[in-house]
């Protein structure tokens, strides 16, 4: 370890090595998938947090002091605006990791990686099943 001094973000040598590694591992691993997933997760989280914050503020300003349960397919029922915005925020948050899985799935489909498209489809099917089971 001592013969390889640590390299930071700004070090061009480290970055070159990082890029080269990415290029090489691109043969098998999936840095591009990683990047897509990063943005899907980040965007989903940010949108959800903004909705949760706005909803929370609306709810508190509205002076509503009842926390009630909200069902996933019941978002359109009449309820205080703040609560509705927060519920949509929770929904967006819930769909964020699921979207991450879909992003991975599409990326593998483009690479025609049949084995892993199959694996991804099983995961998506289980997630869909949990919605159906919850409703049942």
């Amino acid at each position: 370890m001592s013969e390889h001094p640590p390299r930071g973000h700004g070090d061009p040598g480290g970055d070159d090595l990082g890029r080269e590694t990415e290029r090489v591992l691109d043969l098998r691993a999936d840095p591009r998938t990683n990047t897509v997933v990063k943005w899907v997760l980040r965007t989903g989280l940010l949108v959800a947090l903004v909705l949760l914050l706005v909803g929370l503020v609306l709810q508190l300003v509205g002076g509503n002091q009842h926390a009630v349960e909200v069902k996933m397919f019941d978002l359109l029922a009449p309820r205080p605006l703040g609560e509705r915005v927060m519920a949509v925020g929770v929904l967006v948050l819930t769909l964020t990791p699921a979207s991450g899985v879909l992003a991975v799935l599409f990326s593998w489909a483009r690479e025609r990686d049949r084995l892993y498209v199959g694996v991804g489809c099983v995961v998506v099917a289980v997630l869909a099943a949990s919605v159906v089971v919850g409703l049942g």
């Binding site: 640590p6 040598g13 080269e20 990791p97 949990s130």
Partner: protein
């Protein structure tokens, strides 16, 4: 079938919930656990919320934490997506089963199981994180040219199912400036533990990283950094499998979940940044002590002896 009930939340309680999330997120990032093990007992014992509402709120918080940490790790290219989704088959099934069992059984059962898992977590946190030694991690290159040749050679090896499925991989360790490749072995251990982790996630509202990381690192010989990054991405997906059950059944209270999730996202971010400056070991020992005390309270509540 809806259970119509409501909880009182005013501005003071909402602020307290945000603070709870902040603390759980910060502590989780510094000590290396998910926040669920703190959030659920705090909501049940401290705020007096229904256990299943507490679990559902915790799952929402777990998803937020996972999305925040998972995006950071994925950005660093350390997440092994193939491994994540292969193991996710087992965790999501576990999460779905856990969620279904949770909505069917009495809340006091969940309290009881939670008490046991808290004791287990306390023991793990007390011992601290174990790193290194176990993986087949190989330092293969110190230059870009070398990286090309060796990575292809190592990754090209084919032995068992794990190799055929290319479950191994490689990553660039920025700190040491080297390229590391690794192989995956004993997939069945990963699957078995992931199923249990998913089950506990659905039942108790935990992320289950405390089980998945050792299973990947010690069981499948995945480097600790890759195991942690992969686990972080997986936790969110697993939590969603059970959260869907809670959400469609009507156990999600946005007014409770929103402040906790907001707090934990900010807390986890701050914790990740201050992790270097704080002694995780000392904090871990303090947290272990608190967990034991709260586990006893949770156990008493489950037994119906004391309704705190």
């Amino acid at each position: 079938m809806g259970v119509v009930f409501h909880e009182h939340v005013d501005a003071a309680i909402a602020v307290a919930l945000v603070v709870l999330g902040l603390g759980a997120g910060w502590l989780g990032a510094v000590v290396g656990i998910g926040g669920g093990v703190v959030i659920v007992p705090a909501l049940v014992l401290g705020f007096g919320f229904d256990t299943k509402v507490a679990v559902a709120s915790s799952l929402v918080a777990v998803v937020a934490t996972s999305a925040a940490a998972g995006s950071a790790y994925a950005g660093a290219g350390q997440t092994n997506m193939r491994l994540a989704l292969v193991l996710e088959v087992a965790t999501t099934i576990g999460g779905l089963v856990g969620g279904v069992v949770a909505v069917l059984i009495a809340g006091s059962f969940i309290d009881g199981i939670f008490a046991i898992v808290m004791l287990l977590t306390a023991a793990l946190v007390f011992r601290g994180r174990k790193e290194g030694g176990a993986s087949d991690e190989q330092e293969v290159a110190v230059s870009a040219d070398e990286a090309g040749a060796v990575a292809v050679a190592t990754l090209g090896a084919r032995v068992g199912w794990e190799e055929r499925g290319h479950l191994g991989g490689g990553y660039h360790d920025q700190l040491r400036g080297v390229v590391l490749t690794y192989r995956a072995v004993r997939l069945w251990i990963g699957w078995a533990v992931s199923f249990v982790a998913g089950l506990l996630s659905g039942l108790l509202g935990l992320g289950g990283g405390f089980l998945k990381v050792p299973a990947m690192h010690l069981g499948m010989r995945i480097p600790i950094k890759v195991a942690a990054a992969t686990s972080n991405f997986m936790i969110g997906v697993t939590a969603v499998a059970s959260l869907f059950v809670y959400f469609t059944r009507g156990y999600v209270m946005p007014f409770v979940a929103a402040p906790v999730a907001l707090g934990i996202a900010v807390g986890a971010y701050a914790g990740a940044r201050s992790a270097q400056r704080v002694s995780g070991r000392t904090l871990g020992r303090i947290l272990a002590g608190i967990l034991v005390v709260v586990a006893i309270q949770m156990g008493l509540k489950a037994a119906g002896i004391a309704n705190v």
